[in-house]
Symmetry: C2
Subunit: 218 residues, 2 copies
DNA sequence: TAGATTGTTAATCGATTAACAATC
DNA sequence: TAGATTGTTAATCGATTAACAATC
């Protein structure tokens, strides 16, 4: 596999990856409003980035614009969707049917984008047999058997911190390649596993820091 | 206000701010296990950063270690807590008592760190009078009156996207300086307001991207 | 004291921005 | 055609890392 030009095929910086969902979200909005075209300058203005950065970001994946015109919203949106892998569906499971698990499982936006939660597990035997967002809650000791008999693209962990490392090892061992973890614990996974952390407390602490920082400036 | 040395007093890079909660979390764990001392090399090993980066990060705020010894865990944890502003309590409100709002309001870790949710608002009149995590749910049209008569350090928005910009403007207008937004919308706030976004869908899309990226390498 | 590890400076690396030729 | 805007290269900026004198 040879790179066709400088950027295409090269390593994608984290910053670019972080901005892709932002582009996707904003282009979706423009498409909803039936906007036909957008320039990097407009787009940048609206989401708070420079035009150069936006063009540079897209150039990692190809040339989607037209000189003198800009980008066709529909077309660019579709390209970004493909880049993000949104043209296909994903099989998800969720482990931990507590408050956060419930909220995630009920969040319709995921399903809309093709991320379909097909099984929910919980350690509490009292929850067994209950339904959550039209999905049966199973005891966590059935997790291994499930993994052996179903395709699972992404596992969402909303279990207590103490239980999380063990669950993670189990998932990895049974070949799950995508893990979205909400527990505030550090997890070690092999290189071939993609791990995404969402640590809510970390976000709140960052907010707290910046709140205190401001006051000391000026 | 003059900077006492090169780093102390200079602008703190975003990356440093992002890592502070990670340091806090890991140092808390070490303290729980009664570990007395830690070197930047050990700490780095455990959380996946270089020793140099850790020392460099801390040096923005002062000198907390000892040559030839490392850092006293308790002392460093306390310093990081102070840096993050965790030595005081915060008055929080939450707007939007849906699934996500419920999960956030019930998350005990926030209260433990001094982030206390004191009022919850929702647009749905049917929820009025209900309690959520021992906190009364009020109709959202009482929000303005509340803001005028109470101190609010941080407002958490877990309302639907459509309602969010208006709520945000209201908060800013009534002097709230910290906003933690979960709606997938871009919000414009004045410079003096600290805005933290947690876009769950964005995290999932990043995971999706990386899942697809891997396959195309190798 | 000798060994270890800090805080900081200088060197390196990578990401963002500015500029512009290409061209729709 | 003239005007606008892309994709990309070079210049700039900032963050990470390596190295080391200071010193516990």
């Amino acid at each position: 596999m040879t790179a066709r030009n400088t950027k295409k095929g090269s390593e994608i910086p984290q910053g670019v990856i972080a901005r892709l969902p932002l582009y996707h979200r904003h282009l979706s909005e423009l498409a909803d409003r039936d906007v036909q075209r957008v320039s990097s300058a407009q787009l940048g203005q609206e989401i708070g980035l420079t035009a150069a950065q936006i063009r540079s970001d897209f150039s990692y994946f190809g040339s989607f614009g037209q000189q003198g015109y800009g980008y066709r919203v529909q077309e660019l949106l579709q390209q970004v969707s493909i880049i993000l892998g949104l043209e296909k569906d994903y099989h998800l499971i969720l482990i931990g049917a507590g408050n956060l698990g419930k909220a995630i499982a009920s969040y319709a936006n995921f399903r809309k984008r093709g991320f379909i939660i097909e099984a929910i597990f919980d350690a509490n035997p009292l929850l067994e047999g209950n339904y959550l967002a039209a999905c049966l809650i199973q005891p966590v000791d059935k997790l291994e058997a499930y993994l052996d008999s179903h395709t699972v693209d992404i596992a969402i962990i909303t279990a207590p911190s103490e239980a999380t490392p063990k669950i993670c090892r189990c998932l990895v061992h049974h070949g799950v390649r995508g893990i979205w973890n909400f527990s505030p614990v550090h997890l070690d996974v092999p290189d071939h596993v993609v791990l995404e952390h969402t640590h809510l407390t970390d976000s709140l602490l960052r907010l707290s820091f910046r709140l205190n920082q401001q006051r000391s400036d000026s």
